[in-house]
């Protein structure tokens, strides 16, 4: 298991927390919570080691559009970048509802 931490700038407060997904094979759970300040912190725990660059690419792309001040935790059981993108978008959708 590998742990990855990433930080991104944020511009706005977010309305509420969200939880989506399951730590099942090829999937992941995402917890998204409002955070203080103009920054977003991402904590990733993944069962597959050595994919730090892929994670960074996924999150870079996500934060190119997302500007919420959030604490995001991802618990991953081998999901693809596509699944990561999908789960993150679902979490945002729930959080903005």
């Amino acid at each position: 298991m590998e742990q990855i931490e990433l930080t991104y700038p944020a511009k706005r407060k977010i309305p509420k927390r969200a939880h989506v997904g399951v730590v099942g094979s090829g999937d992941m759970e995402v917890l998204l919570e409002p955070a203080e300040g103009a920054v977003a912190h991402v904590f990733i725990r993944t069962s597959v080691d050595g994919f730090g660059a892929s994670w960074k690419a996924v999150l870079d792309r996500f934060f190119a559009k997302y500007d919420g001040a959030a604490r995001i935790q991802i618990n991953d059981a081998g999901g693809t970048p596509g699944i990561a993108q999908l789960r993150l978008e679902q979490a945002v959708e729930v959080s903005e509802q």
Binding site: M1, R17, H19, V22, V23, G24, S25, D27, E29, L31, E33, R45, T46, S47, Q73, N75, D76, A77
Partner: protein
């Protein structure tokens, strides 16, 4: 008998099996009354998985939801089969035990609080081995306490099924509900094949697996109380019905004389066609045997 699964209304079904544990629990509780206890944001996860390189899940694969079912106090405890096969670890097991004990305390104080346990599990989580087995022993004890005051209803919907030590939870339950897709047994077919060889059990023979462990067989032999389609309204209706029925006069696991004599009457010199048991152990004779 026709197979209703492929009937005309099949496509209109709202699958229950496709729901995750949290969605299942929500579906069973009266709208607007549900409240999750110790949810994922509390971050009470397994302390044993990360040190073995396994990613934990924040709710440890056990969702506890309190609310009302058919207007009566209830708690739903749902295992998430997609996380570690629904296996029982220290945290998931303790969540179940604690919820059962709280339902017992309320029931004893005059608010009968039913428990609905959603079993999608292979039993003990091997990474937590002895604590997994211990929490199962403890939650079985808690089922025994609660079921005197309020019904404990076990539901196995599928697709993981219910095996290992957790099959004893189903055995102790006041009522058991299954779908055709679900399986219930102490030892999974793979385990039997590994322990005693392919001649004893060919685990790749899916027809045989379902003929023995499947919901239809368990219902036809009087070992469970309801067989439902994989349809959320049907599942909900069955659970509401058993909450309404309250504590049964006799629990199946206490009918020792009846089942002991049934075992004594079996010809053990050969393997049986599971269908034979449907004639020998009908639901009717189970009622006759109530002492």
């Amino acid at each position: 008998m026709t197979d209703k699964r492929y009937g005309a209304n099949f496509i209109h079904r709202q699958s229950f099996i496709e729901l995750d544990a949290r969605e299942r629990a929500t579906a069973l509780i009266d709208a607007g009354t549900s409240r999750e206890l110790l949810g994922p944001f509390e971050r009470v996860e397994s302390p044993w998985l990360a040190m073995q390189g396994v990613t934990p899940q924040e709710d440890d694969g056990c969702v506890v939801m309190k609310g009302k079912i058919a207007g009566q106090a209830a708690v739903v405890i749902a295992l998430e089969g997609a996380f570690q096969g629904g296996s029982m670890g220290e945290v998931s097991g303790e969540k179940m035990t604690a919820a059962l004990d709280l339902a017992y305390a309320d029931s004893k104080k005059g608010t009968p609080t039913s428990a609905v346990i959603l079993l999608e599990t292979g039993g003990v989580r091997l990474q937590e081995a002895n604590l997994g087995l211990a929490v199962i022993a403890e939650l079985l004890g808690s089922i025994l306490l609660l079921r005197k005051y309020a019904p404990v209803i076990c539901l196995s919907a599928g697709m993981v099924g219910c095996f290992g030590g957790m099959s004893l939870a189903a055995g102790l339950a006041s009522y058991v509900v299954m779908t055709r897709e679900a399986r219930l047994g102490l030892n999974g077919p793979e385990v039997i094949e590994q322990e005693n060889g392919i001649d004893e059990f060919d685990s790749s023979d899916h027809a045989l697996v379902w003929a023995i462990d499947g919901g239809e067989q368990r219902f036809a032999t009087g070992l469970i109380d309801a067989l439902v389609e994989d349809d959320t309204p049907q599942v909900v209706e069955a659970i509401r019905r058993f909450v309404g029925e309250g504590v049964p006069t006799v629990h199946r696991s206490s009918q020792v004389t009846l089942y002991r004599s049934r075992i004594g009457a079996l010809d053990t010199s050969r393997q049986w066609d599971p269908k034979e048991l449907r004639t020998l152990w009908t639901a009717k004779s189970a009622t006759e045997g109530k002492q």
